[in-house]
Amino acid sequence: MDIGFIVVQSLSGLASASALFIIASGLTLVFGVTRIVNFAHGSFYMLGAYIAVTVVPWLLEIDRSPTLFFVGVLISAIAVGVLGVLMELLLLRRLYKVPELFQLLATFGVVLMVQDAVLKIWGPVDIPGPRAPGLRHGVEILGQRFPAYELFLIVIGPAVLGLLWLLMHRTRFGILIRAATRDREMVGALGVNQAMLFTGTLFLGAALAGLGGALQIPRVSASSQMDLSIITEAFVVTVIGGMGSVPGAFLAAVLIGQLQAFGVLVFPKITLVLVFLLMAVVLVVKPWGLLGRPEAAAGRAALPEGILSIRAFGVPERIIAGLAIAAMLAVPVFGDTYMVKVATEVLIFALAAFSLNFLVGNGGIVSFGHAAYFGLGAYAAGLLVTKGGLPMEPALVAAPIAGAAFAALFGFFVVRLSGIYLAMLTLAFAQIAYAVCFQWVEVTGGDNGVVGVWPSAWASSRHVYHYVVAICAILAIIALRRVVYAPFGATLRAARDSEQRADAIGIDVRTHRWLAFTLAGGAAGLAGGLYAFSKGSIDPTLLAIPLSVDFLAMILLGGIQTVMGAVAGAAAFHTIKDIFMPLTDFWRFLLGASIIALVLIFPRGLGGAFAALRGRA
């Protein structure tokens, strides 16, 4: 390899690093002050790009000058900053005191709403941006041509870092931000109006995301998928750098940029995997990131109240459970094919959601990537049938084994962390699994997935397959429920409520959590396998973030603090989704708004409402 090539490759890595740093610095600033991991940061980035591809060409009509190009970029950044202020005033302000899980979900609700808003305003077609006047040429470096705009990006990253440093160290606003990052309550007790500080921080953070997006338009078209792809990268950068640390974000962005630039030469297929592997390694070696520090005891719960009192089923619950099972079994007798399909899927999602709440409500382990194990189960079953030539039965045995095996592998790292870092790591592992299924086209079919995942002949009718699913899902739920009531379940709850105390009475917290993670992964894998045969195909959406969020919405709707709430939540969520999704173009908008409403108004879900009714009776 000649030296010129290596230099250019490294420079292009630096250009990516610069862009990534600008976005991630906003995310890490906002997290540092508000302690909210803002999923919608990726949406701000996307909005920055869309506003720029609208505003910049309009300005360039007036005069094709570099100045007007950058004026347009700045206008876009400021406009996005204003949107960030709106989000702080309308939503975040109500979220500062709620558990982390709810914050993540609510800001993800904003992601969904912005996606539909962007589609409505700008349409579904990607919009290419204009190239920057004066920076359209290439520059010769050691015999290789390198785009001038990329060189400009390389300069702008450190420039933003320098400006942020000045802001943080030379202005009162910056000093207050740094103080609030350590102890915001004390900042308030010294007479600083935190509301103003938080609003200002959101402006700055969102404007940085918007700037990042607007600077991208000469390189990539504005598209409605750019929010989720950038947000996971930005999460990885902030987590590796240490959440809340701007210099850490810079360091991490440079590392990742180089890793990607050279990784693509060695392992062209799995660059995404390399990045997430780096994150996993850093978190295991330095759980708070490269330049991060352990979070000061802020006195805030990572978790909403989990399952507290577990009572055996009384007469009403027995009757309800009996009726529900009977109704599920009766659907093929009375219902049409469509109803059978919906009922089959309800059973599958009930199992997946129940296994997630086994982790969240019972174990206090907030997994933000539970769809990974669902999807890996589906892929294991689907690939064994289509590529391995096996029939359905062994494939359905393999699905939970695959889910459990990957959960055991990923869980080994996951259980070493806690709180928001744990949630981020589960998300990262889920993205690794997603990336592999997406990029390994020869085996997984890539984006299109694999079709022809059909049940064995005897189970090929929807009605019969419904009973296959019913038996597997109901038995699995009953078994998992027994685990909740068993001493193992109680031990997990003990560790959830106080890791230290559980440790002190001789409980091996990590091993218990690891086993729980593996078990839940197995159950989700079984659900995924069942789903693959129900749908007849597999594709990467089965492991993607939106499905993980669907599962979380299900358990939230059902009530995290009840044992059976997840089942009711899955039934309600999936039925509503199936009925309403075809009727509206704004399904995601409605879903996002509903998630936010759930978090703010009914944090205890359906199960909580039921328990409250019983308590009153």
């Binding site: 000093i175 207050l176 007790a189 007479g191």
Partner: protein, 237 residues
């Protein structure tokens, strides 16, 4: 009545289901140093947090400098002129000494000369030498001085000083006592919580004794020192 800077009546507060304060009544006169005394867990720190608005009062009324501040956000209470020095110091460890002071800076009220870093350097000579140093690299005693200096930067009329002598070496405790007396000289009223009778006796004019969330005794420091009975009932461990 006019000489009361702080007037607390029937203050109730607690954490979640746990009630800590069951109707606390106390007053602080202008320019006075009063010691809120009591055993561990009697409710001293909770009283201060509740007055400061960091723990929402469940019942009762708090008047400060003539205004009813019950239910105000902590930042408004601080701006009204009530300073707070927490027991665990809570300095901003990532910031330098000078930056810590900057966070506390508020404009002065009522025509008094404002506190500036320069004035505070002469007040706490140790701090002057380390103004550019990160607060995390300071000793416990230096950090304690910094939290007081930081609160003074807000130009308060009164200061709640939570356990200023706790965990400090005797020589530093002496400097703390001196600092409290100099604050009094500057006309700042101080309500300090204390377990040590020696420290309270050295600085306070008046003692207020709290036990299990209620005020049990109130009188001059001298009277407390002479009343074996009161000390044995409410203070001695």
């Amino acid at each position: 009545m006019d000489d009361l800077v702080l007037d607390v009546t029937g203050l109730k507060a607690g954490y979640g289901p746990a009630e800590i304060l069951f109707g606390v009544d106390l007053t602080l006169r202008r320019g006075e140093v009063a010691a809120l005394m009591g055993r561990n867990g009697a409710g001293k720190s909770t009283t201060m947090k509740a007055i400061m608005g960091m723990l929402p009062p469940r019942a009762g009324r708090i008047r400060f400098a003539g205004a009813d501040i019950t239910g105000w956000a902590p930042y408004r209470i601080a701006r009204a002129g009530l300073g707070y020095v927490p027991e665990d110091r809570r300095i901003f460890t990532d910031l330098t000494v000078a930056e810590n002071l900057e966070v506390g800076r508020r404009p002065a009220r009522g025509g008094r000369a404002p506190w500036t870093p320069e004035r505070l350097w002469s007040f706490f000579p140790n701090l002057a030498e380390m103004r550019g140093r990160r607060a995390s690299a300071m000793s416990g005693g230096e950090q304690q001085m910094l939290t007081i200096a930081r609160t003074l930067m807000g130009n308060p009329d009164a200061v709640l000083l939570d356990e200023p002598s706790e965990g400090l070496a005797p020589v530093i405790v002496e400097q703390m006592a001196e600092a409290v007396l100099r604050m009094k000289e500057e006309g700042i009223a101080v309500l300090l919580s204390e377990q040590s009778l020696d420290f309270a006796a050295a600085v306070a004019d008046r003692a207020i004794v709290i036990e299990r969330g209620e005020i049990r005794w109130n009188g001059t420091m001298e009277a407390l020192e002479n009343d074996e009975q009161v000390r044995a009932t409410w203070l001695t461990v």
